[in-house]
């Protein structure tokens, strides 16, 4: 069974259809890249998979491990193993990062009927992962993402990915706003999490990110549909020729 099956998905936002019958299959352990021009519906797809309110699914299905994802609240999806790394992680003043991480992790474990993490185990794990991601401990005491640089915010997303151990990671424009050094640290963090048990969907406008996170499959999205699927060479082709050819194909 595929990990994620998106079948003929049609989605509207405020009466305007954004996705016009999108189909996508991701198997366990695969890394997929979704590329496409601005406005092609890439972020809409990631939001609908994560369960963001405000989107109306008018047709089609999303199955995750064979279960109907669209029937689940966002928190249920998270507990089942869906993780969205946000393009613009929000700042939450007054909620200390450490407290947030622990509360979220334990909420997911509780929903799965697992016992809560013990404090020493939790702290050990956070310290380990944050060290590898070059996240200083004092950052974890601050409010979630408050005063973080763009790179720090993205690293904080990767930190959560490592802690929550999801089976599906959707990385929405992870490279936006990052310089090369920041991108490399974040990408190294993501690569360390690649595993035969974990799938990733890497959404990006630019091929650059895919030099660091090398995909198994590349999809091109245009005007709310997947218009071409290929291997990693497709990304290089796009870099050379641009998206214009697909704008017509859609």
């Amino acid at each position: 069974m595929p990990l994620l099956e998106v079948k003929d998905l049609k989605v509207r936002v405020e009466e305007r259809e954004i996705l016009h019958g999108l189909t996508l299959t991701v198997n366990e352990g695969e890394v997929h890249a979704i590329m496409g021009p601005n406005g092609s519906g890439k972020s809409t797809l990631s939001h609908v998979i994560a369960g963001k309110p405000g989107y109306e699914v008018t047709d089609g299905q999303i199955l995750f491990k064979g279960e109907d994802l669209l029937e689940m609240a966002p928190e249920e999806r998270a507990a089942k193993g869906v993780f969205l790394a946000f393009q613009y992680p929000v700042e939450i003043p007054g909620v200390a990062t450490m407290n947030f991480l622990r509360t979220a992790l334990n909420a997911q474990r509780k929903a799965r009927g697992e016992s809560e993490y013990s404090t020493p185990d939790f702290l050990k794990k956070v310290r380990e992962v944050s060290k590898s991601l070059n996240i200083p401990q004092d950052m974890l005491k601050r409010g979630v993402n408050v005063g973080f640089s763009g790179g720090e915010k993205k690293r904080n997303e990767v930190l959560q990915m490592a802690l929550f151990e999801p089976s599906l990671c959707i990385l929405d424009e992870m490279d936006s706003g990052l310089d090369i050094d920041a991108l490399r640290i974040a990408a190294d963090g993501v690569n360390a999490l690649r595993s035969p048990k974990r799938s990733m969907v890497v959404i990006t406008h630019y091929q650059r990110l895919l030099n660091y996170i090398v995909p198994d499959v590349v999809h091109v999205m245009s005007r709310g549909k997947v218009v071409k699927t290929g291997n990693k060479e497709l990304a290089l082709e796009l870099e050379a020729s641009g998206y214009a050819q697909f704008e017509d194909a859609a």
């Binding site: 966002p74 929000v90 007054g94 909620v95 979220a104 929903a111």
Partner: protein, 437 residues
């Protein structure tokens, strides 16, 4: 003078309430005269209503209707009913001073633990000795302060010695055990030069109490170079009324942190009149209203910069659910001499339902020209993008809301310097939130 008789909703004249209480009200002959004058002032004004500007959003005539007869002096059964509430309110380690139905209860208080730096008398004793009648006199002509002076049965009169460094808080616990009666107390706290102290004031009902009215006054005067926190936690019965007037005077180079949290009472108002009377002092006057059902909670603060070089900060947060109504009125007065004043207030309301209501009225009256003053006010719902972020990380909706609400009120709580006390207050706010789930 022609005084119209103020009739209450039930047709009972308020003068009857005064007349029937008079026989048991403590005080010297001068105090009796002060009471009579105070009552005259009250009777002329009656319960405040919306046509009085300061009470525009809190129309006590409409919300409360009448002043209830004074609660009976608590008997042994009442004291025993109060015991559980005292236990529940007690902050671990604090020296407790307990008032039951408006009367000081030595048997429930920690008198032995007070030590030589604190001197305590009851208001009742002080009034009996007050030949000049000064204890009940204030410059204010506010109706509720006058009513309080007319009817005050008891309270604590505390003096903290110059230079006292008290690491353990003093906690005044007001417990009501009565129903359909009024509880009228007045406490006077005098804090000496260079003293450091935290005072907690808690209001709560015994299990049996309901529909009572608390009409309280706090007269707080602080000397120079002192470091004082007054943390007020009002959790009166859900059908009770609490109108408290605080009159605060601050000396020079003193640091004062005033904090109030309202989690109880159907109708409440805390009106604070705070005068910065000595140069170089710093005031934080912060508050949190947590309101649900049809609760009405009003915090009205008048901060008077009477001298140069003082700083005042007001941080107020309201969380309003159901059909609750929160009011914040903040006035900063800067007198002509009070140059180099730095006064700011920020009030924010979080509305958790469509029918929740918040009124914010900031006012600046500035008569000096070299000052920095400002105010800000916001009201709105929880931020959807923050909620979604938390839910996408696995937090159920109510928990995500609770976390954001805690963060929201935390901004007003964080200035409580005592770690244990701050955690205690956060715990009380969390308990209020738990009840939403």
């Amino acid at each position: 003078m022609n005084v119209a008789v103020a009739k209450t909703g039930s047709g009972r004249a308020v003068s009857d309430v005064f007349a029937s209480a008079q026989g048991r009200l403590p005080g010297s002959a001068a105090i009796a005269e002060a009471r009579r004058q105070a009552f005259e002032t009250y009777e002329r004004l009656g319960l405040p209503h919306r046509r009085i500007e300061e009470w525009k959003y809190t129309d006590l005539r409409a919300l409360v209707g009448e002043v209830l007869p004074l609660a009976a002096t608590p008997d042994a059964a009442a004291l025993s009913r109060a015991t559980e509430a005292v236990k529940a309110q007690a902050f671990a380690g604090a020296r407790k001073l307990v008032l039951v139905d408006g009367v000081f209860a030595p048997e429930l208080s920690d008198l032995a633990a007070l030590g030589p730096e604190i001197s305590l008398t009851t208001l009742r004793e002080a009034l009996d000795k007050d030949a000049g009648g000064d204890l009940l006199k204030t410059a204010s002509t506010d109706a509720m302060i006058s009513l309080n002076a007319a009817l005050a049965t008891d309270g604590v009169v505390l003096a903290i010695r110059d230079g006292a460094q008290l690491s353990v808080p003093v906690q005044i616990i007001h417990v009501a055990t009565v129903s359909s009666a009024s509880v009228v107390t007045r406490s006077q706290l005098r804090i000496g030069n260079g003293a450091r102290v935290t005072i907690i004031e808690s209001f709560a009902p015994a299990a049996t109490a309901g529909a009572y009215q608390v009409i309280d006054a706090l007269i707080l005067s602080i000397g120079d170079d002192a470091d004082v926190a007054h943390i007020r936690l009002m959790d009166d019965a859900p059908d009770a009324v609490n109108v408290t007037s605080a009159i605060v005077t601050i000396g020079a180079r003193t640091k004062l942190n005033l904090f109030n949290m309202t989690t109880g009472a159907a109708v409440s108002r805390l009106q604070g009149f705070i005068t910065l009377a000595g140069e170089g002092s710093t005031l934080a006057a912060n508050g949190v209203n947590l309101l649900r059902k049809t609760e009405h909670g009003d915090t009205t603060l008048v901060v008077d910069h009477a001298v140069p070089g003082c700083t005042s900060r007001e941080t107020f947060r309201a969380v309003v659910d159901d059909r609750g109504h929160s009011v914040f009125q903040g006035r900063i007065i800067v007198r002509p001499d009070a140059q180099k004043t730095d006064g700011k207030m920020m009030t924010r309301a979080l509305l958790l339902s469509d029918e929740a209501e918040a009124d914010n009225k900031p006012e600046l009256e500035i008569f000096a020209d070299d000052v920095s003053c400002g105010h800000g006010a916001t009201a709105g719902a929880l931020d959807d993008s923050l909620l979604f972020y938390l839910r996408a990380r696995g937090l159920p909706e109510k928990e995500a809301q609770a976390l954001l609400i805690q963060a929201f009120v935390g901004e007003a709580i964080e200035e409580i310097a005592d770690d244990g006390l701050r955690e205690h207050v956060i715990g009380l706010a969390e308990r209020w939130l738990e009840a939403r789930k």
